[in-house]
Amino acid sequence: MAQAAKEKADHFSAYKALAKALAGQDPAWLVNLREKAAAHFEALDFPTTHDEEWKYTNVSAVLKTPFRQHFEQDVTDLTVEAIAPFTFAETRQSQLVFVNGLFAPQLSDVSALPVGVTVSNLAQVPADAAKALHDHLATQANHRDEIFTALNTANLNDGAFVFIPKGKAVETPIHLLFLATAQTATIAHPRVLLLAGEGSIATVIESYAALGESVYFNNSVVEIITQADAVVTHYRLQQENDAAFHVATTQVYQERGSNYTSYAISLGAHLARHNLNVVLGDQHVETTIDGLYVVTGTQHCDNHTSIDHAHPHCTSHQVYKGILDGKGRAVFNGKVFVREGALLTDAHQLNKNLLLSADAHVDTKPQLEIFADDVKCSHGAAIGQLEDDELFYLASRGIAPEKARALLTYGFAEDIISKIKLKSVRQYLDRQVLDKLHQSLEVE
């Protein structure tokens, strides 16, 4: 334990230096928030595999690494062309780019977004959106009890604020790209607040990618609030490099009649953990959270989700699919709560895994806890391999075994990918998934 405490103090104390560096720059409430979060961080311990929520995901390797934290953007030679593989045609003029955790103005462009819509880094939030930021930042993610969230909040300096005002329908998708480029072990604390005002409509892509092979650690926190009748589609594309550590929490709060759809795609990182928690905070809320994870080599990917039904007449759908090859390891833990009084809840959850190798391993635990009557709920988990009968069917049509396996695996992933409405994101993922599985397949 002494060793763990020393590592914690040695490796994760950058927020102290950050506070000094930022002295006098930020509003008092933000300074106060950081200080509170820092106090919580100091009081909390990093989880071990003895903690139920971290039983299958060992973060000790993350904690042992002495990471360096950037306080100022020192990467200024990156060009828009250099990051083109990670950006999308639909969002070239509606993207914010963060490099090693800090805003990169030369790569960012939000000129395509309508007036009144705020898509900005925290330091440059316009005056008319400042109150909304103050009122909502750090109100959802739990920095009191969750050590990674506390650490992120103690380091809250830069980040993205997306604010869609009441009644605004934004057709252009918004892209938030978090890019890692460092040659030395770097830690970053990406932070996003997405506030979708009453009756607004927006699509947000949150993506993580890397230029380079070095180890780094992204400790990300995203808060999303969908106010009454807002409709938010959220694409989360995690494609860190093979050496990276990625720990993230997405905390969503939905108000009455709002609709939140999430596609969480996890392809990268040496170790990835994503907590996606959705609170259905009022009646007639609709939630869809779909996910796809692909692990190969010695990758480890852990998805913990929670869907909290506390009110009547709400619907949630969840399908998470995983493809595991090599010595890849995955964890799925999906909780669905239907609390007392959440009558006429309609909640469905499914986790399906495809094992392509005998050495791959998945631990899946769908959990449904129902405390209300008159509800329609289902949950399930499946772990399987490519079936001989499927392969034979394709063989009987002249498709050779290797190609048949590629086609079936592609189909397994496509079940999720094909639901994605943004064409360039869909094509990007098709390519990435096939490349990752070393499969070549010509498909439309």
């Binding site: 001989d388 009987s396 079936l408």
Partner: protein, 251 residues
């Protein structure tokens, strides 16, 4: 085209085919009938190369060459086709992609040009008519959510696309309503010609009202115990399989 000589085969050590002999020539339609468990479906799957079955004796020549030297996918490219009794669903793969991939694999083998999506679209429009299928089938995942009749029509559509030399139709009539039966049988009749051969594996005579076979064989306990013309099917229908079982026991 196809010569099956004294074929013996087992699955999980259990003997299913016990010395089956059959010759099929180009331009012929053969019906293989028999009670449940007689080995009909086993024969169909063995011809297509299903890995679960083990051939323990005899030989099968396809166009004069040993069929068992070819893997399942090689047989398909060489012109053997099996219409499945229970077609497999492939979620996430569109019917159009699947059909084009199958077509192109065979085209490559035959030294013909592969087709791009637009060229293939022209070809498939014609083929859809054969089984009276709507274009919307092409965008759906292969067999996923298809009714029984739609799955069987999709099998015949694949046959139409691949134009096999030898087509083995395994219980293609099972589970079809009368309209679907008429459409599926009509499709097969349109595809039958003097250069190809068709083996219909069926439990019932009803399919043979729509597709007229040149020969009918009765399979029982892994052997062909009786062969004849299409009248044999009618006789079987009238007398039932007990007639064959009795005759076989007496012999």
């Amino acid at each position: 085209m196809l010569e099956i000589r004294n074929l013996h085969a087992t699955i999980d050590g259990k003997e299913i085919l016990r010395g089956l002999t059959l010759t099929v020539n180009a331009g012929e339609i053969h019906a293989i009938m028999g009670p449940n468990g007689s080995g009909k479906s086993t024969l169909a799957k063995i011809l297509a190369g299903h890995p679960a079955y083990e051939v323990t004796g005899g030989e099968v020549l396809f166009e004069g060459k040993n069929l068992f030297e070819l893997e399942a996918d090689e047989r398909a490219r060489a012109g053997v086709f099996l219409a499945f009794q229970y077609p497999i669903e492939i979620p996430g793969v569109s019917n159009a992609n699947f059909l084009r991939m199958a077509y192109n694999e065979k085209a490559k083998h035959d030294g013909k040009d592969e087709l791009d999506p637009l060229e293939f679209d022209d070809l498939i429009q014609e083929k859809l008519k054969i089984v009276e299928m709507d274009k919307s089938f092409l965008n759906r995942s292969v067999n996923e959510g298809f009714s029984g009749g739609e799955k069987k029509r999709n099998e015949i559509l694949q046959m139409a696309v691949l134009e096999p030399k030898l087509a083995v139709l395994d219980e293609t009539d099972s589970g079809l309503d009368i309209d679907a039966l008429r459409i599926v049988a009509g499709g097969v009749n349109k595809l039958a010609n003097k250069d190809n051969a068709i083996i219909l594996v069926t439990h019932y005579q009803r399919l043979l009202d729509y597709i007229e076979p040149h020969f009918v064989h009765v399979l029982y306990k892994g052997q062909i115990v009786k062969s004849g013309g299409k009248d044999l099917a009618l006789e079987l229908e009238k007398k039932g399989y007990d007639w064959i079982k009795g005759a076989s026991a007496a012999a």
